[in-house]
């Protein structure tokens, strides 16, 4: 019979029908009595042929068959569940209560510890409240709390976990009250039987009231009594007290102070805030993703692969609904993917994700990144937590002697190598590299060192690795505080420069990366940097630049360090409102950090700083102070330090080199110019220039430049001109339309009517008299250039001079001032007239026969004015010609 039973169990196990390996089923199948069977099964169990799985009812399995199949010895005879057994067989340890909570030893550690303490508080724990946004796992934690109580025998295993969601009763608080406290038959319509209530069922166990903010005030009050004394009335029976003792857990998404009665809240001594998914960090998010996907994998029975895009989208999406939403998203994606899947793997692509997450999809990623499918195992953040701790431990325990730097560096390199070798995970490395590179580049400029790209990537890798192990590293650092602190002190004194830079980088990373970073990041960067800076071993030299002004010293130091390609100078800026005492203290603080130094160079600018060495707390150090610090002298000294020259020699070389060399160049006044420009070419421009040159009154210093119109219109040509000269105006025949330059058309200049252009433009460089003369000269010279065209025999220059004088005379005789336009016409006309008379071509007819009678007066005036002309050219102006002059003048 024993054999028969074993064979039957084996065959069920083959078919994975574990629920049939139970007494009831076997007895039916083999047609033997339950009692007999139970006896045999127990025998077999005692012989260690069978194991028990404490399902209800108990399942019996063939030990040998299992061990053969999984090639593994079972550790015990009894298992809590099939899952537990399976976990052991598939190499996963059975997780107990809170161990199932992802982050139970990281972000949730504190909370879990508090929960444990609260429920353990004798005799029945204390009421506690979980407060946190929706989907953060409050109910799950309540469930785990119950399991913890069972596992630690705080409560008996047959006591219940009773869960009530108060929001379900939000519209019917009486019903909740009735269900919670129970009721007497007939207490209200529909109360057909006595009901003992949930408090009764929770007696000795755990009562979990979810969404407790939905609990009516009345109901909260009723709970007081129960919480205080463990007694309550059934609804409809106020005479009899019921008793029940249980651990109570409340949960709410609302701010407890606002959502609950103060008196109620006062009775809940422990309020735990459950962090949102975002607050729990990427590491835990990854673990959650892994565990949720794993669950789906199990459910669907297919291996799940996810695309790198899905990975990134899920990782970077902020789930407002926290784990709940993440769970939904993953399930929805699996459903969508399953629908499209026909192989034995399930591929989840970005398009399977819910719309809200897809919306965040950066389309450029699709093109840029190689589309890659990864299996779930690769999601898991590093489980090799040991490595990073090993690494820290090794660093801290290194001998702090001369070989420290070398050993530390090789330790770091080994570690980096491991990380890079371990390169199978998808992570946010690119992001860190990007940040780190920016920060390091910045530092490079400041301190003059250059880090190799490989090293940069390694450091980024380390930070990324580290960020997945924050919790354990932080714990370790806290536990070994003294040791770590000693290590820090050692680095900061023996490798001061590097340490300071490392700290700076560390600070930048900390500020920029939204990530918690521990001190070791700074230390490790510091050690990486050691090789970039010269360490002379016994001789340590410190050089400081100290100068007035808010960044003078640091600017000089930065420039010198960069030019020297080495970090040599430290800088102390002395803002003008800071006194020397403060600066002295700063230097002393600095020197105290640095440790044993041999040479100290102080490069200062002036004043009280020149005596700053007097207040320093140092002994037996070569001190050299130089005033009038500047970049050149800093370079000189830096070079000397680099070459390890003795202090005296360095200083002497500075003295030799640093004489002032001067070159004085006084600024010159910009010459004032008039530009002449003409669209028809330089010819006209030159003519205009000539007219202007001849017209400028003496003592007026104006240069006149001709310029090709097409050139002048070019912006750069004009700018260059404007740079060199002060351009008074441009005179020409076509406006170059340059906004900042005044332009006068030649005609406007000559006619000069209405708004007096000459006065407007030249008012600044000429006096009134000069302007009047200039105007007159322009008209004269312009006329002359025309007269020349028209006069054939006479000397135009001389002729115009005579005519001009004559017409001036006429104007004063007539008490009249001709317009320029008229003057010009008259000049030309009269000049021509004189020549006509000389060549005997006079006009001999009157236009108006009565001219002579009407205008004898005018004829006389003209003749008087022209006397000299007539005499000089030996001509007589006939009255007919005077009529022409008259006609000219009256139209003025």
């Amino acid at each position: 019979m024993n054999e028969k039973i074993m064979i039957l169990i084996d065959s069920y196990m083959e078919q994975k029908l574990f629920d049939q390996c139970q007494a009831a089923h076997i007895s039916k199948e083999l047609k033997i009595s339950r009692n007999q069977l139970t006896r045999i099964l127990n025998e077999l169990f005692d012989e260690k042929k069978l194991i028990k799985v404490k399902t209800n009812p108990i399942t019996y399995l063939d030990r040998e068959a299992l061990e053969r199949k999984y090639k593994k010895k079972l550790t015990t005879d009894e298992y809590k569940s099939i899952d537990a057994l399976e976990n052991e067989l598939t190499n996963q340890e059975q997780l107990m209560n809170f161990e199932k909570l992802i982050g139970h030893n990281e972000s949730m550690y504190q909370i879990v510890e508090k929960i444990k303490a609260t429920v353990s508080y004798p005799p029945i724990g204390l009421p506690m409240l979980f407060y946190g946004p929706t989907g953060t796992g409050k109910s799950f934690m309540a469930k785990l709390t119950y399991e913890y109580c069972v596992d630690t025998n705080l409560i008996e295993s047959d006591k219940s976990f009773v869960q009530v969601n108060c929001s379900e009763y939000a519209n019917n608080p009486e019903l909740l009250t009735a269900n919670l406290f129970g009721y007497k038959k007939g207490a209200f319509t529909g109360a057909d039987n006595d009901n003992m209530g949930l408090l009764h069922y929770a007696d000795g166990g755990v009562l979990f009231l979810d969404e407790v903010h939905c609990l009516s005030a009345e109901c909260q009050e009723k709970l007081f009594l129960y919480m205080d004394q463990g007694i309550y009335h059934l609804v409809g029976d106020n005479s009899k007290w019921c008793k029940s003792r249980c651990r109570i857990i409340f949960a709410t998404t609302e701010l407890p102070e606002k959502a609950l009665l103060k008196t109620f809240l006062r009775r809940i001594p422990v309020i735990l805030t459950v962090p949102s998914l975002a607050q729990r960090g990427q590491n835990e998010k990854l673990q959650l993703m892994y565990s949720l996907l794993k669950k789906e994998e199990k459910r669907i029975g297919k291996k799940i692969l996810i695309s790198s895009n899905v990975y990134e989208l899920l990782l970077n999406h902020t789930f407002v609904g926290n784990i709940g939403e993440l769970t939904n998203a993953i399930q929805a994606s699996c459903v969508s993917a399953l629908y499209n899947s026909n192989s034995d793997t399930l591929e989840i692509h970005a398009y399977d994700l819910p719309q809200a997450i897809k919306n965040n999809f950066d389309l450029s990623n699709i093109v840029m990144k190689k589309h890659k499918l990864v299996s779930l195992d690769k999601l898991l953040p590093v489980s090799e937590q040991g490595i990073i701790l090993e690494f820290y431990k090794e660093l801290v325990s290194l001998d702090r002697n001369q070989k420290f730097a070398l050993r530390a560096q090789s330790t770091i390199e080994d570690y980096f190598e491991k990380l890079i070798f371990n390169n199978h995970k998808v992570d946010n490395l690119a992001y860190i590299i990007n940040y780190l590179e920016k920060i390091i580049n910045n530092m490079t400029e400041h301190y003059g060192f250059k880090m190799s790209h490989n090293e940069l990537i390694a450091i980024a890798k380390y930070i990324s690795e580290f960020s997945k192990n924050t919790y354990i590293t932080n714990n370790w650092i806290n536990e070994n505080y003294d040791e770590v602190n000693n290590f820090k002190k050692y680095l900061s004194s023996d490798f001061h420069h590097e340490f300071e830079i490392g700290q700076e980088i560390y600070q930048h990373l900390k500020n920029n990366m939204n990530q918690d970073i521990d001190d070791f990041v700074g230390f490790i960067i510091c050690i990486c940097l050691i090789k970039y800076f010269a360490h002379s071993g016994d001789e340590m030299t410190v050089a400081m630049i100290i100068a007035h002004g808010y960044s003078t010293a640091s600017s000089i130091a930065e420039a010198a360090n960069r030019m020297l390609d080495t970090y040599i100078f430290d800088a102390i800026d002395m803002p003008l409102d800071v006194d020397v005492k403060t600066i002295t203290r700063k230097i002393n603080d600095y020197l105290a950090h640095v440790g044993n130094i041999s040479n100290l160079y102080l490069l200062v600018d002036m004043g009280s700083l020149e005596e700053i060495y007097q207040g320093l707390d140092i002994n037996n150090v070569n001190i050299a102070l130089i005033n009038n610090v500047n970049t050149k002298c800093a370079l000189e000294i830096g070079q000397g330090i680099k070459l390890k020259k003795p202090v005296k020699e360095v200083i002497n070389s500075v003295l030799r080199e640093n004489l002032y060399r001067t070159h004085v160049q006084l600024k010159k006044k910009k010459e004032k110019v008039i530009l002449c420009s003409c669209a028809s070419g330089l010819g006209t421009a030159t003519k205009i220039k000539d007219i202007l040159l001849q017209s400028l009154p003496e003592n007026v210093k104006l240069k006149i430049i001709t310029y090709d119109y097409p050139d002048l219109v070019k912006k750069d040509v004009y700018n260059q001109l404007a740079n060199e000269y002060e351009i008074v105006c441009c005179i020409g025949t076509l406006d170059p339309n340059i906004e900042s330059m005044k332009y006068i058309g030649i005609q406007d200049l000559i006619i000069n009517e209405g708004q007096n252009a000459v006065e407007v433009y030249f008012g600044k460089c000429m006096s009134k008299e000069q302007i009047a003369l200039f105007e007159k000269n322009i008209l004269h010279n312009f006329t002359l250039s025309n007269v020349m065209n028209n006069i054939t025999i006479l000397n135009p220059d001389k002729l115009l001079e005579h005519v001009a004088r004559a017409l001036d005379q006429l104007q004063s005789n007539l008490h009249k001032r001709f317009k320029n336009r008229t003057s010009f016409g008259l000049y030309v006309h009269v000049c021509c007239l004189v020549e006509r008379l000389v060549t005997r071509q006079a006009i001999t007819n009157f236009t108006d026969e009565h001219f002579k009678e009407k205008h004898q007066d005018f004829i006389d005036q003209v003749l008087i004015s022209m006397q000299e002309v007539q005499r000089f050219y030996n001509v007589e102006i006939p009255e007919e010609e005077i009529e022409y002059i008259y006609n000219y003048i009256i139209s003025d």
Partner: protein, 155 residues
Amino acid sequence: MLVGLRVDHRLLHGQVAFSWTSALGADCILIANTAVTNDPLRKTAIKMAKPAGTKLVIKNIEDSIKSLNSGVTDKYKLFVIVESVKDAYELMTKADIHALTLGGTKATSETKNISKAVNLTDEEISLVKELIERGDDIEIRMVSTDKKILAKNVL
């Protein structure tokens, strides 16, 4: 409508401006001269000398011929002034003009004095003769009030 074509080496100056434009009742003066169109300064001077209320146009010979032939000038009482006989000949032969006044031309070593203010080279004389033979009406007159002298009588 063309009211007059005149040769004057001074182009536009007092005499022309006041006697001829008013005598002819011209409302538009066309200076047909290639050199002036390229000399902004002379252009300026000529513009300054123009009688008030008269439109002034300065064009080179070629463009002048085009304008005259195209009819755009028809709406004006147009008075055309050229610098030389040669330019006048160009216009007359190419723009179908049959009357010309010789106003004044410069005396040079190659010119013969024809009348008080008119001096012509042999070449110019032959051009004038050609025009006369064509049947054109060519007169010598300095100002509008002078008596007109027919060129064919002097040459």
